[in-house]
């Protein structure tokens, strides 16, 4: 079954006043930044830093939310709560799901935006 896209194109484009160029810029900026966001969540969970883990989830949620991605936003918010509660084992399991979802969002955005030069 075809999954509902994470990227909510119509709403996002409306919020940007139909500015496709800006949308492309935001998409390529996010795609370039995503490895850092995921890396921060991974590192914080690995080192057992609950506060940093919660903050990393929060920041990822903030960036992802620019593209709609409602279900992913909900998952990240839940994971932020789990991290804050100190249940990092549980967070690690959620992170695997989230990583997949982010990769899916990246793929959707890549279709839209040509990869950044270089």
């Amino acid at each position: 079954m075809e999954k509902t896209p994470l990227f909510e194109r119509e709403e996002v484009l409306a919020n940007l006043d139909g500015d496709l160029e800006l949308l492309h810029l935001l998409a390529s900026t996010f795609v370039a930044d995503a490895p850092r966001l995921i890396g921060e969540m991974e590192r914080a969970i690995r080192t057992g830093d609950t506060e940093a883990a919660a903050r990393a989830c929060h920041n990822t949620k903030g960036s992802v939310a620019n593209f709609g991605a409602s279900t992913l936003v909900v998952e990240l918010k839940a994971m932020e709560g789990v991290c804050r509660a100190g249940a990092l084992d549980e967070a690690e399991a959620i992170l695997r799901q989230i990583d997949l979802a982010i990769q899916r969002l990246i793929a959707e955005l890549r279709e839209l935006a040509p990869p950044p030069p270089g």
Binding site: D19, L26, N59, G62
Partner: protein
């Protein structure tokens, strides 16, 4: 009108780019971007931000701490600051308001809301800037008006001193020189620049009480007898009466000078036979300046003393007639004393000496 600086601080590049684009679409402003709060804070403290938009959740310095630091800078007391929040606890918002955030922006950024709030804050800022320009203009106008009042006051004082000159055989050049010597001594003693300037203006009135001295005493060519000298002494009290309780600080200083310039530190002077530091510093300074110039000038009853002779007299009477510190200050400025003598030389005296 120059562009207003909208400083945006967010460690997430996607948000930073979005807010930059939205600010660029507004007229009259330009975005200044920072992805690290430390660099953003340094810029804000050294430059002229007009609006700060700061994310809450950042490493090292969070949005609340950032605002606290910015508000410490006195120039940024009224600067509009917006904090970007998503679903932070209410206590975070309260903390932000407590340290001086003006309002909040919601994440994800909604274009309509974002631009409306930024526009409102910029319009507030333009109002602040216009008001502060107006305040600066008014302050300048007040400064000019006060300067004019001071100038008129100074002119009145000069005219008063001129009036006194008509009653006094001493010349205008004497008055200018002794006023300049007084300032030299005050400067050397390390007294405030404002006091030095007041002394320069007030010194010419030291003998204004001679307006009340009868002609037969004031203009007598020979030495005064005891009775005449007692009457002559009263010029200190008369001068004080003329000048005292003025609204002008310079004239009040002149009153003190008129009263005290014939006092001697060993208590043998007049009118009150004050000793040492009971004589106000202006009185002790003027005593040195006045006597030195009187000695080195021609008077109806005496020749002009040579510089060596006059200097020896001052040194000899340091600690008895004169305040020692004033004498030391005077001789420490000896080159300047000679320059003043040269600049304000007495043409008539030069003729007499030739």
């Amino acid at each position: 009108m120059s562009l207003l600086n909208v400083v945006i601080i967010d460690d997430a590049p996607t948000n930073l780019q979005l807010m930059r684009a939205l600010v660029e679409r507004l007229s009259g402003c330009r975005p200044v971007l920072f992805d690290a709060p430390e660099a953003g804070l340094a810029w804000c403290l050294d430059n002229h931000p007009d609006l700060i938009i700061v994310d809450y959740m950042m490493p090292v310095i969070d949005g609340v701490e950032f605002i606290r630091q910015v508000r410490k800078e006195p120039r940024h007391g009224d600067l509009p600051i917006l904090m970007v929040t998503s679903d932070e606890h209410r206590s975070v918002r309260y903390a932000a308001l407590d340290v001086g955030a003006n309002d909040f922006l919601n994440k994800p950024v909604d274009r309509i809301e974002f631009q409306a709030r930024v526009r409102n804050m910029l319009s507030l800022r333009r109002g602040q800037l216009a008001l502060s320009d107006r305040a600066a203009t008014l302050a300048e106008a007040v400064r000019l008006a006060v300067a004019e009042v001071h100038e008129r006051e100074r002119e009145t004082i000069v005219r008063l001193a001129k009036a006194a000159e008509w009653r006094d055989p001493e010349t205008g050049a004497h008055i200018l020189r002794m006023a300049q010597y007084s300032r030299l001594i005050a400067a050397r003693l390390g007294l405030p620049a404002e006091f030095q300037e007041s002394l320069l203006q007030a010194a010419p009135m030291h003998d204004i009480g001679k307006l009340g001295t009868p002609d037969h005493i004031l203009l007598k060519p020979g030495r005064l007898d005891m009775g005449e000298f007692e009457i002559m002494k009263r010029h200190t009290l008369i001068g004080y009466e003329i000048l005292r309780e003025s609204g002008s600080a310079v004239v009040r200083l002149a009153a003190s000078i008129a009263l005290h310039h014939h006092e001697k530190v060993d208590g043998t002077g007049y009118p009150h036979a004050l000793r040492g530091e009971a004589i106000p510093i202006e009185g002790r300074i003027i005593a040195v300046a006045d006597v030195f110039d009187a000695l080195t000038s021609v008077r109806p009853y005496k020749r002009a003393w040579g510089l060596d002779e006059a200097s020896a007299f001052l040194r000899e009477h340091a600690g008895s007639h004169f305040d020692r510190a004033c004498i030391d200050a005077f001789f420490a400025e000896w080159d300047a004393v000679l320059a003043i003598r040269h600049m304000y030389g007495d043409p008539e005296e030069e003729l007499l000496q030739a």
